[in-house]
């Protein structure tokens, strides 16, 4: 799959107005999103790469492909977990031990009246984004992407098994709009307070008001994107970028949507 997108920077004083403008344009109420994002870095498992012994039965072509796969670029990937506002600053379910797993399936807040955040039941999605394509003639950011659903709960073990280190995590808050094929995500990045980097994802979330802004001025990023199933189909790719340009024209008086700097979206691990 391919993602085509346009970006704009929205200063904080314009945020409220833009929300209303987008709500009018898309004829829908904004869907508020809060997402935990964990960043994982791929690493080469020692002893795997470059080993070509016992490969007599491999054909030359296969061998090349295997080598390319093993020695190719390494990427950062994100694991995204949707959370709700009440998950922040809440405590873990107290009677976790006495409750059987699955009992709280229908009733996510358990028997206790205060909301609680249960890391073990957090759903996750793996999202991979390539570095945007270089030298494309069209004025949109186009990059290869893929996503997959992961098992609930602790993902670090599974990710380790696939050759990924946990690096860091942050939170994205924003509002989502849908305009025909285009998803419009007006968001900003929040950091955890304290700044002490852990080497594991947090099991508890601090209160939302304690989160610090990544961008000190509090400005938002507006991302408009379309996902195309088959990037080899030039016709659909063109349609997608045409739709994005149409949106850019419509929003011209409010924000300026433009292509992002390619290298700032580099996901390769050096």
């Amino acid at each position: 799959m391919h993602e085509q997108s346009l970006f704009a920077s929205v200063p904080v004083h314009q945020h409220h107005e833009l929300l209303q403008q987008l709500a009018g344009l898309t004829a829908m109420q904004p869907r508020h999103c809060l997402e935990r994002r964990l960043i994982f870095k791929a690493y080469r498992k020692p002893g795997v790469a470059g080993r070509t012994g016992a490969s007599q039965d491999l054909q030359q072509g296969d061998l090349q492909r295997l080598n390319k796969m093993l020695n190719g670029n390494m990427y950062y990937t994100q694991v995204v977990g949707p959370v709700s506002e009440s998950d922040f600053g809440s405590t873990a379910p107290v009677d976790r031990d006495t409750q059987m797993a699955g009992m709280d399936d229908s009733n996510p807040y358990g028997s206790s009246s205060s909301p609680s955040y249960d890391y073990e039941r957090q759903s996750w999605k793996l999202e991979f984004r390539d570095i945007p394509e270089a030298g494309t003639r069209s004025a949109v950011t186009s990059r290869l992407m893929s996503s997959a659903t992961l098992p609930r709960g602790d993902v670090v073990q599974a990710m380790n098994a696939w050759g990924y280190h946990f690096t860091t995590e942050y939170v994205v808050e924003g509002d989502m709009f849908i305009h025909n094929d285009i998803a419009i995500f007006l968001h900003r990045v929040l950091h955890y307070p304290g700044g002490g980097e852990l080497n594991l994802p947090r099991r508890q979330l601090p209160a939302l008001k304690d989160m610090t802004l990544f961008e000190k001025s509090g400005s938002y990023v507006l991302q408009a994107f379309i996902i195309v199933q088959d990037s080899s189909n030039q016709e659909t790719m063109k349609t997608a970028s045409q739709h994005l340009f149409g949106l850019r024209e419509q929003l011209k008086s409010a924000v300026v949507l433009e292509q992002a700097d390619r290298l700032s979206l580099d996901t390769r691990a050096k």
Partner: protein
């Protein structure tokens, strides 16, 4: 409007008594006769003489035409002469212009010598030095007193007249502006009133300078969504006009008619009564909204009807025919509100009307539900873009209602079947335990549904319908259950009866499972009850008899062919008594006869019936306890004792 608003800037030209002015006449003479300079007495005299001569010649010519022809040489000469004349005239004219030019140039040479010099003839330059001629304005002679007075009076009069006219125009403009302001105020007040009612007022996308009101439904099919916008125009007096463009302003609605046994038994009424004359703008907007909703509804109904043509639904241009159940047919059509023809009253039944009204409300509610589903679908994260377009599935409008009608019809049928059968059994003195029915037992409530309660409620209506019937039979620990599933939204379509038996006495009796025809269900249940009766008879006849018969060895019935309802009294003799029980939903008949078969196992012709008793039948009597019939058990036991 601009025409009526001009100030007269020129005095009205006065009428002349002479038709032509002098300059015009002079020009005319110049053209006709040449310059005045050449006119002198001799020329004029010659001319007159010539004219007289010509007249004479003409007279001669007229009298004698043949001789009038001039000689060719003479003609030629005349021609030359004329040409010479023309050239002469031209030369003369040229000379005159040159003179005039010289004169003007000399006059101008005082003021602009360089420029004037270029247009002077060389002769003049030699003769006269530049700037030797001057022109000056000469003071006109003083006008007489009376004339100045006249002039001032006239101009004063003119001025007064013009002031008056200007004042009038200004007053007119002021009053016009006043009415304009009043009508604008009225217009904007009405627009505000519309806006205060909660309608969305916005600029028209196609016509930037006019206002529009959005009354349509955002989630409707695009054709109808785009029609839900009308411009608010201003009439001359400022009243608000709703301009719906090319749409006919006729109001129409989807009429539901119920046909029972080929006769119209109910028809739905329009949702909103027709406005007559004094409608407000709010009414007009509401009416337009209703119309667009009804039209969309019918459009979607036709679309769905085509998709479910396999259920026997037929569509014509403006009519959908749905065979609902048994003798019930439903007609849907789009009719004008005012065209509503009075129906013949005598066939209209309360039930039919309420069914039609109920259906009419159902399809409208379901369309509103479909709109909500559209919104939900639209605001989900879009699927990846692919070249092929996804088709929009038909909304479920007819299908749930149809499923409900069909389901209810089946449930009623099963209820009546069971009532009939149990009635027959009761009339025979048997006491079958009552059955229980749970109609629409699917209403399972999902606990955590993010959708609002209304949508959850309607969502339940769209799920397959299920009703269950459970009952016990006379045989101990025996029971039956029938579950009716009706599903028209997902394959497999239609209704199925899930019939299961529990008959401990006949363990090899298998439950029929899923049946789809009523006849099969009737046969299966009747069969079960027949077995039940046979078993009851065979088990009860072996019970201890009353005191009087105690000394006798009591023969007892044995179910020999329970499937056929046949019982036999085993005995050593050749003649054996056989009993045949037949059960249907109308009656139960019992026949006892003697057979000569060896062991009584033969059937049909082989059993050689020798003695036929009259078959005894039990029918459920319409009036309870009207005729006292012996119960089945009494009848059986009396017959046994007679043997």
């Amino acid at each position: 409007m601009a025409d009526s608003f001009t100030l007269p800037l020129r005095p009205i030209p006065e009428k002349r008594d002479r038709p032509d002015t002098l300059p015009v006449e002079i020009a005319q003479i110049n053209n006709q006769w040449g310059s005045f300079r050449e006119v002198n007495e001799d020329v004029l005299r010659n001319k007159i003489a010539e004219e007289e001569e010509k007249d004479d010649l003409d007279e001669v010519g007229e009298s004698d035409q043949d001789a009038s022809d001039l000689d060719s040489t003479e003609r030629l000469e005349q021609l030359y002469k004329r040409r010479a004349e023309i050239t002469q005239f031209a030369m003369q004219a040229h000379m005159e212009t040159m003179f005039a030019l010289d004169f003007v140039s000399l006059l101008l040479s005082k003021q602009a010598p360089r420029q004037a010099e270029t247009s002077m003839s060389p002769f003049l330059k030699q003769v006269a030095p530049l700037g030797s001629l001057n022109a000056e304005v000469v003071n006109p002679p003083p006008k007489p007193e009376s004339k100045t007075k006249d002039i001032s009076a006239v101009s004063r009069g003119w001025r007064i007249q013009n002031f008056n006219a200007a004042a009038n125009k200004l007053l007119q403009a002021a009053s016009r502006l006043e009415t304009e302001v009043a009508s604008e105020t009225r217009y904007w007040n009405e627009v505000l009133a519309v806006k205060d009612k909660g309608w969305k007022v916005s600029r028209l996308p196609s016509e930037k300078q006019s206002l529009g009101v959005q009354y349509g439904f955002l989630e409707a099919t695009p054709v109808f969504r785009d029609r839900g916008l009308a411009s608010l125009r201003r009439a001359e007096d400022g009243a608000l006009l709703l301009d719906e463009g090319l749409i006919p302003s006729k109001t129409c609605f989807v009429r539901v008619r119920v046909i029972q046994n080929g006769r119209l038994s109910g028809s739905s009424k329009p949702t909103r009564s027709n406005f007559n004359g004094n409608e407000t703008i709010e009414d007009r907007i509401l009416q337009a909204r209703d119309t667009v909703y009804e039209e969309e509804l019918f459009h979607e109904l036709v679309r769905e009807a085509r998709a479910i043509a396999s259920f026997g639904v037929t569509t014509r241009q403006n009519l959908i025919q749905i065979p609902a159940s048994d003798d019930l047919e439903i007609l849907l059509d789009l009719v004008d509100t005012d065209e509503d023809t009075p129906e013949p009253e005598h066939d209209i039944s309360q039930q039919g009307t309420s069914l039609a009204e109920g259906l009419a409300h159902t399809i409208r509610i379901l369309l509103a539900y479909a709109h909500r589903q559209n919104l939900r679908r639209r605001t989900l994260l879009p699927l990846p873009l692919t070249p092929k377009t996804r088709s929009v599935p038909e909304h479920q409008l007819i299908r749930p209602a149809l499923a409900y009608i069909k389901h209810m019809s089946h449930v009623r049928w099963l209820q009546s079947l069971l009532n009939d059968l149990f009635g027959v059994l009761q009339s025979a003195g048997l006491k079958p335990p009552a059955y229980t029915s749970r109609v629409f037992s699917t209403a399972r409530r999902r606990q955590t549904s993010p959708a609002p309660a209304v949508e959850t409620l309607i969502g339940q209506f769209l799920t397959p319908l299920l009703s269950t019937f459970n009952g016990k039979i006379l045989t101990p620990r025996g029971s039956f259950s029938v579950a009716i599933h009706t599903n028209l939204s997902l394959p497999p379509f239609g209704t199925s009866f899930d019939v299961s038996f529990n008959m401990p006495k006949y363990p090899d009796l298998e439950s029929p499972g899923k049946l789809s025809h009523r006849e099969e269900v009737e046969a299966a249940i009747t069969h079960l009850l027949l077995l039940d009766v046979v078993f009851t008879v065979s088990s009860n006849s072996g019970l201890p008899q009353p005191e009087s018969d105690k000394d006798q060895v009591k023969p007892s019935w044995e179910a020999i062919y329970p499937q056929h309802g046949e019982l036999l009294i085993p005995s050593k003799s050749e003649k054996r008594k056989k009993m045949k029980i037949a059960l249907s939903r109308h009656e139960m008949s019992l026949e006892i006869y003697t057979v000569r078969c060896i062991d009584g196992t033969g059937r049909g012709h082989w059993e050689l019936p020798s003695y036929h008793s009259m078959p005894h039948t039990w029918k459920p009597s319409p009036i309870a306890g009207s005729t006292k019939q012996p119960s089945l058990m009494d009848y059986v036991s009396t017959n046994v004792s007679f043997s």
